[in-house]
Symmetry: C2
Subunit: 216 residues, 2 copies
């Protein structure tokens, strides 16, 4: 092993990732810029590029770091395959809910940190146990993933909307619905806000499992 030469490092990858994590946790994904991050770790924007190729790579590293902190949970003992799928999906959603920005990074590549692949593994395995072919089990996983990603991103967008309290477009639209063209919505109108703020993830995932797995 040759002696390390040249200028000694001032900042490390770890410094960068720690700071990035902090910024995202405190102010959300859109606050994470290379320049902001540089300020946070006390260097110039360009120093960062010596440690990561570009912003995309930074996000991937962040994702990996986060995934490392998610423990692989045990499947519920004595549960049938359907319950195993539900448990894995609920755990996956739970893990992602605290970090909805990840869904945006992930969208292009599915759940692609090697450390988080436990979720698809468990869902696919349970689906095969339930009697699906491997191909159908992959379809089932992808359908569940699409549902989960959609739910998380809708919920985090709704949370953001509640924060800035300017009147929503939705509110204005629901105030003057044409009751003859849209009778159901017009009748539900006053309760729409309340009805659509309920957490229906569980209900949806159970419906999917009922519809996707063969009846026992």
């Amino acid at each position: 092993m040759p002696a390390r030469t040249g200028r000694p490092p001032k900042i490390s990858k770890t410094d960068i990732l720690t700071a990035a994590h902090r910024v995202i946790d405190e102010e959300g994904t859109q606050a994470l810029t290379m320049r902001r991050l540089a300020r946070e770790v006390g260097t110039t924007p360009m120093a960062l590029y010596h440690h990561v190729r570009d912003k995309d790579e930074l996000l991937l590293l962040l994702l990996d770091e986060y995934a490392a902190g998610v423990p692989r949970p045990e499947p519920p003992a004595g549960a049938g395959p359907g319950e195993r799928v539900v448990a894995a999906a609920v755990a996956m959603r739970e893990a992602l809910t605290r970090v909805p920005w990840i869904v945006e990074v992930l969208r292009a590549d599915d759940l692609m940190s090697a450390r988080a692949l436990w979720y698809p593994e468990e869902i696919i395995d349970a689906a095969v146990q339930a009697g699906l072919t491997p191909e159908d089990a992959v379809d089932a996983y992808r359908i569940i993933w699409h549902y989960t990603a959609g739910e998380i991103s809708a919920r985090s967008a709704a949370a953001r909307r509640r924060e800035d309290d300017r009147p929503t477009h939705r509110g204005r639209v629901f105030e003057d619905l044409d009751a003859t063209r849209l009778p159901r919505l017009a009748a539900l109108g006053p309760r729409w806000e309340e009805l659509t703020s309920r957490d229906t993830y569980d209900k949806g995932i159970r419906a999917l499992v009922r519809g996707l797995l063969p009846r026992p």
Copy 2:
């Protein structure tokens, strides 16, 4: 009606929206910036702010304009409620697929152009016909919406990825899977790309309908 006074307009809202539409169609959402749009219609960025409050309002107007072009399809004649839900969901997804950027605008506010509310109306109505309470019908619609939004945005992200052909993170991850920890994925590994490029929207929506509506 008083005579119009002052400087005659050089550009109209319609000019702006037409140009915006063109830019998005040709180069995608991320190409639509106020400055770029100004160049396109032949003015300064600031002139635009005389016609729209800000970029968000512009996106909402664009959404509305697009929704106006989506005809209200007839529910399939003689079909049961389950088939009506499937048909409406498939039509909704079809309408959105050509304009995936809309899903991002929509995410915060559900399907909130008054002109596109036919989709939730039809889905909720069919669900009530099938025997659900209005509350359960709203849940069913939202679950279907989350699934649909997730599917569309995953698919459009995948399409974008296919365009720039640098090797994907996913590819690298799937090359060295730990077969003892993740046996199912390791076995599927070589076929993952092929298996996850299939269109499974229909399969998912049918599973949801089976799982959400009471059995006939």
